[in-house]
């Protein structure tokens, strides 16, 4: 586990807002010298505090008017290979996220589509034909906000 002080937390908060900020700009914001900021960023990256960079895109402007979350239960547990299902579902380009979960469903998918009829096509041709797929529950995303979390 990585130990963070208040300055590290402030740096992570700033990068979670905008990861394109220069080391100099971040340092000025937090009252740190550029080398000190650079050393801290290097440690945070090396120790894995930052998983990746996410692009925040206006999906409707790019032609993706619909985002749907699917809860999928596998039909015959024990007889389907989880690895086969995971490989097949991950290969679908419209599927943005696949999470293995425990509870009412086995997998949770985030799917983008141009519109509802495009979503129906993805659902029928790509999702319902996956190996081992059982019950599918769909919820259309209306709004989404990400919060800074306990930093």
């Amino acid at each position: 586990m990585i130990n963070l002080d208040d300055t590290d937390r402030a740096l992570l908060r700033a990068l979670a807002q905008d990861s394109t900020q220069s080391t100099g700009a971040l340092g000025r914001r937090l009252g740190l010298s550029q080398p000190a900021t650079w050393r801290r960023l290097k440690r945070l990256r090396e120790e894995g505090a930052i998983a990746r960079t996410r692009l925040d895109l206006d999906l409707p402007a790019l032609g993706f008017g619909v985002t749907v979350f699917l809860g999928i239960s596998l039909a015959a547990k024990g007889r389907v290979s989880l690895a086969d299902f995971e490989r097949a579902v991950s290969a679908i380009p419209e599927v943005q996220t696949v999470q293995h979960v425990l509870g009412l469903y086995d997998y949770r998918l985030r799917v983008v589509a141009r519109d509802l009829s495009d979503f129906e096509r993805v659902l029928r041709r790509r999702i319902m034909t996956l190996p081992g797929v059982g019950a599918v529950d769909a919820n259309v995303l209306l709004s989404e906000e990400r919060l800074p979390g306990p930093l």
């Binding site: 990861s19 925040d56 529950d137 995303l141 979390g149």
Partner: protein, 152 residues
């Protein structure tokens, strides 16, 4: 608002490598550095590229538990959504708030240090949130695919 094939190529390269320098992106998208920079600025000013954000690895920071809480609200109260969301925003362990059209009204992504801590967060901060009619939890086991590129 139209984007052309060069924008698409540029966005594809950016999605594949969100931390790449402008020079590297330009090279991969087959643009000059100046054109690449200008196009990125235009995508930003038109609000298509709203930001590039670091995703924090909460597990690496010692937050071992991640739970998706799917919540149905008591919709007889017209203020249910607004009041629920405002209260959920104030819970530090809530990372995401999504609203839906479907069987579920709202989903919260909640993290905790371990199961004992999760129980505390659940009892002391989640259950007291206003207007909850029904609630079910999905425990997050692993990410199989995250933030994939858009098929543009």
């Amino acid at each position: 608002m139209q984007i052309d094939d060069s924008d698409r190529r540029l966005l594809r390269q950016l999605m594949a490598a969100p931390d790449a320098s402008t020079a590297m992106l330009a090279d991969r998208a087959g643009l000059t550095e100046a054109t690449c920079w200008r196009r990125l600025e235009r995508l930003r000013s038109r609000g298509i590229l709203r930001g590039q954000r670091a995703v924090i690895d909460w597990r690496a920071l010692g937050w071992q538990v991640e739970v998706s809480l799917r919540i149905t609200l008591d919709k007889t109260n017209p203020r249910a959504f607004d009041e629920f969301i405002a209260a959920a925003r104030a819970v530090p362990e809530v990372l995401e708030i999504q609203t839906f059209l479907g069987r579920v009204d709202v989903r919260l992504n909640v993290i905790a240090r371990d199961m004992i801590h999760y129980q505390q967060v659940y009892r002391d901060r989640i259950l007291p949130l206003p207007h909850i009619a029904d609630l079910e939890a999905l425990m997050h086991l692993s990410d199989i695919k995250s933030d994939a590129s858009l098929p543009i």
